[in-house]
């Protein structure tokens, strides 16, 4: 079984009329099976991966769990592999730094988002699993997971399930993750098509998103009639959002003009309409980081620009007629 260390700290609620100091269990499983067993037994145990969210909560005394479940000893969480159909299974514990260096080519959108996370120190520790676990609407990977059509792999002793990213987020910092479950991996479809991620912050690095946007082109879907454009909006609603109307509009535009087989530069009006639809899909609020009006405005601009960049890249790959 897993090693248990005791850490002592002080309980918020019960200690002053009973015990002064409470033992807190620090669980260190060394395999996924151990971890799942531990989580089944102690659903109150808080998983800790890079700790870049958890430690802030602890240090500021916002939460004092009875147990911590340290995931850093589980080798398989820190691995990524090919899924066989061209996709990638990204272990929940792979750091942003590794995503950037090892998967920059294959997961361009996720790598772009990873580059914008925090500082080098945070990128060395922080993980996509942690980003999902926190499920903050401002988390930078969420828009990319939505746009690329990724799914989240959740495991418990009850079994394994795969949830499309779109269904993962259910409210502000809330997800479908059950108390006995752990996030084991993220499944990202393989693609060679362009992806973009773009984030607004009021300084040029190390900033929480005022709003963000991701786009992924899915030319392989052109034949199926499915959406050929994926979108994701961050920090402009209670959860990360897809801009479904915008996807539909652009899918139709591209199909009608037979753009996928003979791509040409997009009309400015198309890009603007796309931007407007993305902005309309958001439900931002006014807060210390920015006004709702700014967020909407910025999303329209980001959507228009990222579409332009992604489409330009697509054209370059297919032809040189876009200029």
């Amino acid at each position: 079984m897993c090693t248990t260390y005791s850490v002592t700290w002080y309980d918020t609620t019960t200690w002053y009329d009973s015990e002064e100091i409470r033992e807190v269990d620090f669980l260190r499983p060394s395999s996924m099976a151990e971890a799942l067993a531990a989580k089944a037994e102690r659903p109150d145990a808080v998983p800790i991966a890079g700790g870049t969210d958890v430690m802030v909560e602890l240090n500021f005394d916002r939460t004092r769990p009875d147990a911590l479940l340290d995931l850093t000893g589980i080798a398989e969480l820190a691995e990524w592999s090919d899924t066989g159909d061209g996709g990638i299974r990204l272990g929940a514990g792979v750091s942003y730094t590794r995503i950037i260096t090892e998967l920059g080519q294959r997961l361009p959108g996720l790598a772009m988002a990873s580059r914008t996370v925090g500082s080098p120190q945070i990128r060395n520790r922080g993980t996509v699993g942690g980003n999902l676990g926190a499920a903050s609407p401002a988390g930078d990977t969420h828009p990319v997971l939505l746009a690329t059509g990724a799914s989240v792999e959740l495991a418990s002793t009850r079994g394994l399930r795969t949830v499309p990213a779109e269904e993962f987020y259910v409210g502000v910092k809330r997800s479908v993750l059950a108390p006995d479950e752990l996030i084991t991996a993220v499944l990202l479809p393989g693609t060679t098509a362009p992806q973009q991620f773009s984030k607004i912050g009021t300084r040029n690095a190390m900033v929480i998103a005022v709003c963000s946007f991701a786009i992924a082109l899915h030319p392989e879907q052109a034949a199926t009639g499915n959406s050929t454009v994926g979108t994701g909006i961050g920090s402009a609603g209670p959860t990360p959002l897809r801009a479904t109307e915008a996807e539909r509009f652009l899918t139709a535009e591209l199909a009608n003009a037979d753009q996928w087989t003979s791509p040409r530069a997009l009309d400015d009006s198309v890009r603007r309409r796309f931007g407007d639809l993305v902005a309309a899909a958001a439900s931002p609020i006014d807060d210390v980081r920015g006004s709702a009006a700014y967020r909407r405005h910025a999303l329209a601009v980001l959507a228009r620009r990222t579409l332009g960049w992604a489409w330009w890249d697509y054209c370059l790959e297919r032809t040189s007629r876009c200029a």
Partner: protein, 774 residues
């Protein structure tokens, strides 16, 4: 010295020949440098005692409320708690304050700001203390906040203090009050609440002593002004309150007012145990004063040729709940309110107000920073109205030595304002590097990938600034230095003792440099700063190199006289023109006379000197006239920015500065001050603001109070002039604040140039540029 980031004068080989190395004009290593780089320097938060307790502060969650009850019963019951104290436990006067004693040590019947201390807890563990703190029951009756400074001054608002809501009003009038002009520009400007954002939070350790007194180790800016206030609150004489400086992790004015000083001592005396207090980052935002937000109304009149005829202004500074340094801030804004320009006819009214916002006080460049944003914005507006270049309109009005300030004070040392401006103007402009491939790091938005150069427009802006150096308006400003010269291990060695606070600016190095130069002694050690020696004055107003440097210089002279007297006694009548060089006594003619070691023998030469700058006078209460300032410091900035005009994101591409420092005492440290000050001004221009609504701070964290990162900090080429001030030691001019004054306005001017927008508020937010404020 020429480097990609700056040109700083170096002494010629000739000038340094025969001088002890590491003297004035050199850039020797800081005595605390290696420790700081290795992470071994002991900051105040590292203070530790085996037997110590931890103190915490219960603060008001409201901006304005009546306290109807305080019940500490439950808190006292918590095991591990040693004391829970309220205002009733303050033995002396329950009041403190830098300029006026109007701030309770612990709130009595009313709280006037969000975060005001109400009670204290000491416990054997910091978490126990925090938990117990939450069990203190305070009954509040919430009162409406008073949030607007201008209304607090003129409006129908309840008085927050017995004398009303005006902390100070200064009126400066000079010349024809009814002057008219060919061209008139008016504007209303706003400056947000900036934070000092020092990295080492407030902290210290108080130890009860057997004599009934207390020993306090604390990070502060002025030991003796802390001591005075602690004595008053504890009802103890100064010899019972001994304060030693603990390692300071930055200050920028934010440590001038008390934080943990009285609280930790109270807890230590009550419990009979050492008590440590450390604020966390969030509490730090409540635990110190901030830069005054300001609203400024300006009217400039000029001739068609662009000569200023008059300046009229009304300035409102929000002092928040208590006085702090507001009177001095008001004095600065009023007397420096037209900037470094010649204007014959001036009317300035400046008010500092009490509100129920967080207290505001000292921060780098205070008063001058706020005024500069307005008068420099006005100069640009004037240039536009006249169809003149912004540099040209400034050159036509630049003040110089001999100019008369609005206070009537004649500037009697170099004031090379025009030259500074020409220096930054004449620098070649950075190239527009956006070629074929885009480097995101060079783009507004940085690696966040918001633009690949679309809608990016370059702008260039200029600004000038002026700051008074040292304490003004008749204040008896002095510093004290004690020097001991003796032979240690066969070598002459000097020990320097002052109460002057090192906050990172490099005074410790300067003290050593002065001694090396004046006494020709290499080995110079510094005793910890404490209150066993008389005051050195505060580390503020860019004054310590001038004041404590001046005191050390004076003490060196006293020591040297004693050495020469010894030499005379030993060697007989000497040739004239003695000096101490390289451990030897040297005559002007005839060379080396003797080794210092031999002359000293077993003697210990011990001299303490109190040193003052020339006196200043108070301002006339009606007209604001007077010889108010000791010295003026000037800087000029040119900012080059790239603005994504569609998203409102800004990348400062280059921020060039030119400053006159009289004498570059330590060129490397000076460059650090200029770069740091420029960056702090840049931060105010584009991101740094404590957001307050209805008196409540909304962003008390480094997650949402943003300060520039390295990607926000551009190359900053620097030109330094050394035009000696005949009144100052070595001719030096205080250097810490001027670069923080003109950099912000220059950046905003550059953003205006890029966007064509009026931008009357600093910091400029993306919302302002994109018109999405609401």
């Amino acid at each position: 010295m020429t480097s990609p980031t700056g040109t700083v004068p170096t002494r010629t080989a000739e000038a340094t020949t025969g001088r002890a190395s590491g003297g004035v004009g050199d850039s020797p290593q800081r005595p605390d440098g290696a420790l700081k780089v290795r992470g071994e320097f002991a900051y105040s938060s590292d203070a530790w005692h085996e037997d110590m307790l931890w103190g915490t502060t219960l603060r008001s969650p409201y901006a304005h409320a009546r306290i109807v009850s305080i019940d500490i019963t439950e808190a006292l019951r918590v095991p591990g708690v040693y004391a829970v104290l309220t205002h009733a436990d303050v033995p002396g006067a329950n009041l403190h304050g830098l300029e006026r004693q109007d701030q309770p040590v612990l709130a009595v019947d009313v709280v006037r700001y969000h975060g005001e201390p109400v009670a204290l807890v000491a416990a054997d563990h910091p978490e126990t203390a925090r938990r117990a703190m939450r069990r203190i029951e305070v009954g509040y009756e919430v009162l409406p906040p008073v949030s607007d400074a201008e209304q607090a001054v003129h409006g129908d608002v309840p008085a927050l203090h017995p004398g009303g809501n005006v902390v100070r009003h200064v009126r400066v009038v000079r010349g024809d009050q009814d002057a008219t002009a060919d061209v008139v520009v008016r504007g209303e400007y706003q400056v947000g609440m900036q934070d000092q954002a020092f990295l080492g939070p407030e902290s210290g350790l108080a130890m009860p002593a057997e004599d009934g007194g207390v020993d306090l180790f604390v990070a502060t800016q002025w030991l003796h002004v802390d001591q005075q206030q602690v004595c008053i609150a504890l009802g103890l004489p100064p010899d019972k309150v001994r304060i030693t400086l603990a390692g300071v992790g930055g200050a920028f004015g934010g440590r001038e007012d008390l934080s943990i000083q009285v609280h930790a001592c109270l807890l230590a005396l009550h419990t009979g145990k050492p008590v440590k207090m450390v604020y966390n980052r969030e509490e730090s935002f409540y635990g110190h004063v901030h830069r005054h937000p300001a609203t400024l109304y300006y009217e400039h009149g000029a001739t068609h040729e662009g000569k200023l005829v008059y300046v009229r202004s009304r300035i409102y500074l929000d002092g928040g709940a208590y006085t702090s340094s507001t009177p001095a801030v008001v004095g600065n804004a009023a007397t420096l309110g037209v900037g470094p320009y010649d204007v014959d006819n001036v009317t300035i009214d400046c008010w500092g107000a009490y509100t129920t916002n967080p207290p505001c006080g000292a921060m780098r460049g205070f008063g001058a920073v706020q005024a500069a944003f307005a008068y420099e914005s006005q100069m640009d507006k004037l240039a536009e109205a006249l169809g003149l270049d912004p540099v040209e309109v400034r050159l036509r009005n630049a003040m110089s030595e001999g100019s008369v300030m609005p206070t009537g004070q004649v500037v009697d040392s170099p004031a090379p304002v025009a030259e500074l401006l020409r220096l930054v103007r004449d620098r070649s402009l950075p190239t527009n590097g956006h070629g074929e491939s885009v480097d995101l790091r060079a783009m507004p938005g940085g690696v966040s990938n918001t633009t690949h150069a679309e809608n990016v427009v370059r702008g260039v802006g200029y600004a000038l600034g002026v700051k008074n150096i040292c304490f003004s308006e008749g204040f008896d400003d002095y510093s004290t230095a004690r020097l001991r010269l003796q032979v240690v291990g066969g070598e002459p060695a000097v020990e320097v003792h002052t109460a002057a606070v090192e906050v990172g600016q490099g005074l410790v190095t300067i003290e050593q440099q002065i001694v090396r130069t004046e006494l020709g002694v290499e080995r110079v050690t510094l005793r910890p700063a404490d209150t066993t020696i008389d005051s050195a004055g505060g580390t503020s107003a860019s004054r310590q190199t001038y004041m404590t440097g001046g005191a050390v210089l004076a003490a060196c002279r006293a020591v040297r006289d004693r050495v020469f007297a010894l030499a005379r006694a030993k060697l007989g009548p000497e040739p004239t023109g003695l000096s101490l060089v390289g451990g030897k006594i040297v005559a002007a003619t005839g060379g080396v006379l003797a080794d210092l070691v031999d002359v000293l023998g077993g003697n210990v030469i011990d001299e303490t000197v109190q040193w003052r700058h020339r006196p200043t006078t108070e301002l006339d209460p009606e007209t604001g006239q007077g010889f108010a300032h000791v010295q003026y410091g000037f800087a000029a900035h040119r900012a080059v920015v790239d603005v994504d005009v569609e998203l409102g994101l800004v990348k400062v591409v280059e921020l060039a500065c030119a400053q006159d420092v009289g004498r570059a005492m330590n060129p490397k440290a000076l460059l650090g001050q200029i770069h740091g000050g420029s960056t702090q001004g840049l931060g105010l221009a584009v991101m740094e603001e404590i957001q307050v609504s209805d008196g409540l701070i909304r962003n008390p964290s480094f997650t949402d109070y943003l300060i520039p990162t390295i990607l926000d900090t551009p190359p900053m080429p620097v030109d330094v002039l050394e035009l000696a001030d005949p009144h100052a030691p070595y001719g030096l001019r205080g250097a810490g604040e001027p670069p923080a004054i003109s950099s912000g306005p220059a950046v905003v001017a550059a953003i205006r140039a890029a966007t064509g927008m009026a931008l009357t508020r600093m910091p400029v937010r993306p919302e302002h540029i994109t018109g999405t404020d609401h």
